[in-house]
Symmetry: D2
Subunit: 291 residues, 4 copies
């Protein structure tokens, strides 16, 4: 079942700027005066950084500024004045998401099941993997699959191939669905805050490889999973979503892996959904997640 | 440790009205134009009921309308126009909370511990009980304690005594901290949406007496607690907060009671906190809980 | 990744009987004396019902009683003496699970993803549905699919057809993966404690149809899902597993449905896993779930 | 309300030893043959370390070995043979617990509320603090309070004073209820696996001072608390219990402190309860927590 049918065309504005009195009033006036009906507004003030964040969505039914002029008008009239960073989206655009996978199928299946059920407003033009194992899954769902093996020697060349494929398919953002390869700084620079990873621990605990082994060694009573944007700092990018599950001394490392997979897939899918719904702003390695 | 020291005087407006375009813009303009700095804004549209809800807080430092005139100005200029229900609060007023208890001490201790530690912006002028058991606890914390036994025959008379005490102490709202007596319709009518109860189940499961026994009988795997405003419909008032904890077949009824007490006290205290912070609006037997 | 490879052949004994001193000692002696190595033991005494429950698993590597004689010996030597109800399983038998579905795919995908990844020691010979919608999913995973539409008039005849198919495929247990049809008493009697259902509420709250609508109406702050064995009492069979997720006033009925689906699939899959691993005993409409 | 009244005298045996076939059978026979009725048995095999763990509790009503001889008999007949580490407890002994506190009251209040309500089978002969702030709380509950300020220079001398007080009061174990002082190796050596600490993070994330500040900096979406036995390795001792709560970008460091306090007190109290109930075994820096 599709989560939400699009019943009217809307614009979504995500923004942040130095905190000053009057911003909410100014932006809401801009919309109201021009006959836009505000459907959603959430704002946040980071009182340490003195930064104002806002997400606002309004109906374009009677909005008098033409769609392709809204960005220009808003920039000219407000963004410059308040020194804003902003992004404007429209709810009828279906973003293109590429999946990177390796051998494990649980996150991939969870994503494709939602995709097949039209749960998200997204298109998946292609899947890229450094292995062959999940080619069959991809085929079952009728999605283009590219095997691009990567090692230390060929990484630059293979990433160039990947970037070409992504450009060709006009990919908007990338999901690493348990993709077991470190991505280069160059590659990341093409998709800032647009590569979503799932790490199989409650970050910042158990950074790096084999977090379930480390959790077992330490004897923790909870294991976690963390979805974050990829930055050049390994496992240290802005956190989007985390969750945990309870374990006991009876659980072996294999049990942790097994229990963790349910966490990983749900946490990753929640993060993807927030991204698709334009509910995430990043600022200085942290995220603001609107409700 | 006190949660938050009051660093500046603010006004808090809670409101709802029929949903119409332009309300956010109108209200934020009212504040901004008059030199109030908006510190918090959260809004919600109930798209089924077509009702708009908002909580907005602003600094009064430079606000040009005198404090005792804000309500009148807002009513005249906006509330009538938009057919609003609203309440205005000031952050420097310390509301007065009365506690009703019976024999169980866990919720009472949790509340008094927070009170002693100045965790909440609240005053507790008195504790009323239908039993003597917790008089000692009350005395340890230096709070006035009134034993007012209630039975079918004397309920009207005793409730009149309670109402007189509450009026005398200018009590703003009441917390039933495991008070094991049903309160009359007449009593409730004096404190609409101002009596907070804790029910020891995940409502609407296990309404009425002995919910832990019922949960044990049914063999559920989770038990819960629910804090809600008291209405004349027993255990059916607007829900403020709920939480659950996991149980197993190994847990006896006594274990459920024991595990449930930790839930009850935390859930009740979270509800009290939301009430004190003016973050709750009720509408048609449901609550809007602002963040 | 398969959860656990079978490294040695084991027997699993699930039993309950009136509580008497000496049972643990007697049963463990039976195993040890005959050169079985105990790998797992968990026991529980229901002190209200005065019933003793145990699950015990042992290696058959050096066990001197032939596999096909264990049941007989145990019955003769112990079960009669202690008035035991017991079941004996072997870890190398792969139980056969039939799936019943209607139109919603989320639980089906979750199960098939695990199946494809060899997460469970189970075989899925067929899927039965009262609708055609999920035939395509079934085909992608190469599993036999039977559309058997059911209505009031044809129910008896159609269920006979279903029972014949289940018998033909030697199905051990059935999973109702959001199958939207009430199953007859006659059908249930063929699979006592062998039909697992997922109900989309925190039972016993919101029994019956449209629980998410009811949850929305009541304004709860948590929604749940419950997996239980099907009995002739609708939504009232022994509960296997439950979980909840937090919601707010911002969530519409559609949001509840959407958030609930993640709960439903995880809760159902946990219940299936416990069943496959022979970790569930039922007694008087309640379950004992071994760790 | 007291959790459980003691209805019969029992012995509790906690043990671990190298894993060998026949141990369960041997130990349960020892009890059964001598007319002890087993009330509880839980066992665990660490298949990596090849170690067998067990907790067993039995009624002494008809047990033919005198109470003060059980330990000797068990050692002679079984412990030596199987190379066991074991501890024997009796349920009618009330262990003595000392509390160490500094300035924060939330954990102290939670413990004293349970103590006052007879929730635990424990005695609290004294409270020790490096500050004066909580003296008043202590007095309200009628418990001896000692202010023993500690700094780098006087630590050895002051700890000697503390140890003398603990010895004088025959203290069995110590709870650091947000005691903000590092305890010396010498002190710890007097109470191995008998000092319970609460750390205000999800260990091993945010070891050391100011974990809430660190959590805020990192932008995590969950904060946690961890109760563990104190070892000479700071914040790295065997973990007893952990839990988490959800936070958002809206939470300031002060909010984290506030939300974390509810976690800390509940997690610490759960750990204390497990310790009092003799449900914890430690082995190589990890705990086995019996159900």
């Amino acid at each position: 079942m599709a989560k939400k049918a699009i019943t009217q065309k809307t614009a979504i504005l995500l923004m942040h700027c130095p905190d000053l009195p009057g911003i909410v009033s100014a932006v809401t006036s801009f919309i109201t005066v021009n006959k836009g009906n505000i459907l959603y507004l959430d704002q946040h003030v980071d009182s340490v950084e003195k930064v104002f964040f806002m997400r606002i969505e309004w109906s374009l039914n009677d909005f008098i500024i033409p769609e392709d002029k809204i960005e220009e008008y808003f920039r000219t009239l407000y963004a410059q004045k308040y020194n804003m960073y902003f992004r404007l989206y429209f709810n009828d655009y279906k973003p293109k998401m590429a999946l990177f996978v390796s051998k494990m199928s649980h996150c991939l299946f969870d994503i494709l099941a939602r995709y097949t059920a039209n749960e998200w407003n997204v298109e998946i033009p292609l899947i890229i993997s450094n292995h062959d194992e999940l080619k069959g899954v991809s085929e079952r769902f009728g999605i283009e699959f590219h095997t691009i093996p990567v090692n230390k020697e060929n990484k630059a060349k293979q990433e160039a191939k990947e970037l070409a494929l992504l450009a060709e398919h006009k990919v908007d953002f990338i999901v690493l669905a348990r993709y077991m390869q470190i991505i280069s700084e160059n590659f990341i620079s093409h998709y800032p805050d647009k590569i979503i990873n799932i790490h199989h621990s409650f970050l910042p605990a158990f950074v790096g490889a084999k977090p379930y082994h480390a959790a077992y060694e330490r004897g923790v009573k909870l294991i976690g999973a963390t979805s974050h944007y990829v930055t050049t700092d390994l496992d240290a990018g802005p956190i989007i979503e985390q969750d945990i599950t309870r374990i006991t001394h009876k659980d072996s490392v294999e049990d942790l892996v097994h229990k963790g997979q349910d966490l990983e897939k749900i946490v990753l899918s929640r993060a993807i959904e927030k991204h698709i719904e334009r509910k995430i702003l990043t600022y200085k390695n942290k995220t603001v997640i609107f409700s």
